[in-house]
């Protein structure tokens, strides 16, 4: 199955009339199969909204999104989602979490077991299979969440600030691990972040988004070979350029938040 993502004139307005929040305005983009794409922008610029629309959680107000030539209508296991809050089922052990999608799909027991064994090995979770999520560190939990998706071998992975809550070292380890996984089976990845450095470290291509309404401000290709050195001159040149763009939007964000009427 091809895994190209095509977004055509996507519009999303939350609410209606004067109170409506224009989260996405006329976004058009194509993510070729196997590309590692980062969505970058300040808080509230619509990154999650666009990702949720791709996942099939949020219906668009106008426009279309298709994955592998099929229009997105509802969530499905062909677009594995990794959430910032991990979203593991706390009542299931690590292995049951990973097996869940296979159970739903009706994969035979022996085959499911083999898949779980392979994936837990791959992500260094073999010793944690019978633990419950509450006993794991944040980094381990996010590994399980990734393993849960990988078990279904989806052509597309959608990740919403998956490493946002982790400490710097764990974050780097998981970034490297994700790159390794991606290099092995070249899934199409859409990865949301508001860290400029994370975007440059990971992505083939970065879409910088504007704040309200969410639009694509700049489409940047990262030409560096991997592994990338965040201390290199080239890395820092891109970082400066993107930093400038993001700061402009951040300023608009701060402005809007300061002058917005208080709501609670």
């Amino acid at each position: 199955m091809s895994a190209e993502i095509v977004v055509t004139n996507a519009v999303k307005v939350f609410g209606s009339g004067a109170a409506g929040v224009p989260a996405l305005q006329d976004i058009t983009a194509t993510v070729p199969e196997g590309q590692f794409l980062c969505l970058l922008g300040p808080s509230g610029c619509g990154k999650s909204t666009l990702l949720n629309a791709m996942a099939g959680f949020t219906p668009l107000s106008a426009g279309t999104i298709s994955v592998g030539g099929r229009p997105v209508r509802e969530p499905g296991p062909d677009r594995g989602m990794v959430f910032q809050e991990y979203a593991l089922f706390p009542w299931m052990s690590v292995e049951d979490n990973i097996r869940f999608g296979l159970d739903v799909k009706g994969v035979p027991k022996a085959q499911a077991e083999a898949t779980v064994a392979r994936i837990t090995d791959k992500l260094g979770l073999a010793d944690f299979r019978t633990r419950y999520p509450k006993d794991l560190s944040g980094g381990m939990r996010q590994r399980v969440a990734i393993a849960r998706i990988l078990a279904l071998d989806p052509p597309v992975m959608l990740m919403d600030e998956p490493f946002g809550a982790l400490d710097a070292l764990t974050r780097r380890t998981l970034q490297d691990e994700l790159l390794r996984i991606w290099a092995e089976d070249r899934k199409t990845i859409v990865f949301v972040t508001h860290s400029i450095e994370e975007a440059i470290y990971l992505a083939d291509r970065i879409l910088v988004m504007t704040y309200r309404p969410g639009r694509i401000k700049r489409d940047v290709t990262v030409p560096m070979p991997r592994p990338r050195d965040p201390a290199s001159a080239e890395f820092n040149a891109i970082k400066r350029e993107l930093g400038q763009l993001v700061m402009e939007e951040q300023a608009r964000f701060t402005d809007a938040e300061l002058h917005a009427p208080a709501v609670d």
Partner: protein
């Protein structure tokens, strides 16, 4: 024994001693307050099997429980468990339905809010009118006492399920039935179990009252019967047994909770 645990028994021991002295010296009539030693003797006697053990007649276990008090305790416990099973068995599925469907919830919630504050004891006259005397009204009242706490908690439990779990499950391809059985039900289970713990506590209160009114065995019946003869020592002994049984039920429920919710973050120690 450490100093602090010694201090903990100091007050009860002192009171027992005072109580013993008061009734032994005749300062208080033994009908009003029999000496604790008499209560203990009576309690111990109630525990004993009525006849000597005869292996040809019955098993050792049933002989051991053939004394009046064990027999009553087993009757009361049986009623609590049967009424609880009935009440919770109805409340959980109904609660799951009302919790998942906004339509059903808005239809039934007002009725629920009207019925819920009526204490189960207030249903006694109606229960007797409907079911006469005997076990049926007792079971009805116990089931009722269990039903509302379990129902209310189940509804609340389902309604507070974090939408992130639902989204994750949908993303992994879960259909309605899987969602219900493997996501909503376990996610709501801490609430459901908390409701069951309250429910079985209520059931235990109701069983004592129901036995005083509708049946002729059980711990509640026995202490009311003892009152007819002014056997204060037997009354207090019976109360003691009721307390012990309540402790056992709550302890068992709490162990079950800990086991079923071993995954729950709130139980981290």
């Amino acid at each position: 024994m450490t100093l602090s645990s010694f201090r903990g028994v100091l007050v009860p021991l002192g009171l027992l001693l005072l109580w013993e002295v008061l009734s032994r010296t005749g300062a208080v009539s033994p009908v009003v307050l029999p000496p604790p030693s008499a209560v203990a003797v009576k309690w111990w006697a109630g525990l004993q099997p009525a006849l000597p053990y005869d292996p040809g007649q019955e098993s050792y276990l049933s002989w051991l429980f053939s004394g009046e008090m064990p027999h009553d305790a087993v009757s009361s416990l049986g009623r609590v468990l049967a009424g609880f099973a009935l009440g919770a068995g109805l409340a959980v599925p109904i609660g799951l339905m009302l919790g998942t469907s906004d339509g059903l919830y808005s239809l039934f919630n007002p009725l629920l809010q009207v019925l819920r504050p009526i204490p189960p004891i207030a249903y006694i006259p109606l229960a007797i009118v409907w079911f006469g005397l005997g076990n049926p009204p007792a079971l009805f009242l116990i089931a009722l006492g269990t039903f509302f706490p379990v129902l209310v908690n189940t509804i609340a439990g389902v309604r507070q399920v974090d939408s992130i779990y639902i989204r994750a499950a949908r993303n992994l391809g879960a259909g309605r039935w899987t969602m219900f059985r493997r996501v909503i039900l376990p996610a709501a289970s801490p609430f459901v179990l908390a409701g069951m713990r309250i429910g079985i506590g209520t059931a235990f209160i109701v069983v004592i009252v129901a036995e005083m009114i509708a049946v002729s065995d059980g711990l509640g019946y026995r202490i009311l019967e003892a009152r007819e003869y002014m056997w204060s020592d037997k009354i207090i002994g019976g109360m003691l047994t009721i307390g012990i049984l309540g402790l056992i039920i709550d302890g068992a429920m709490s162990r079950l909770n800990d086991h079923l919710l071993r995954w729950h973050r709130g139980l981290e120690r």
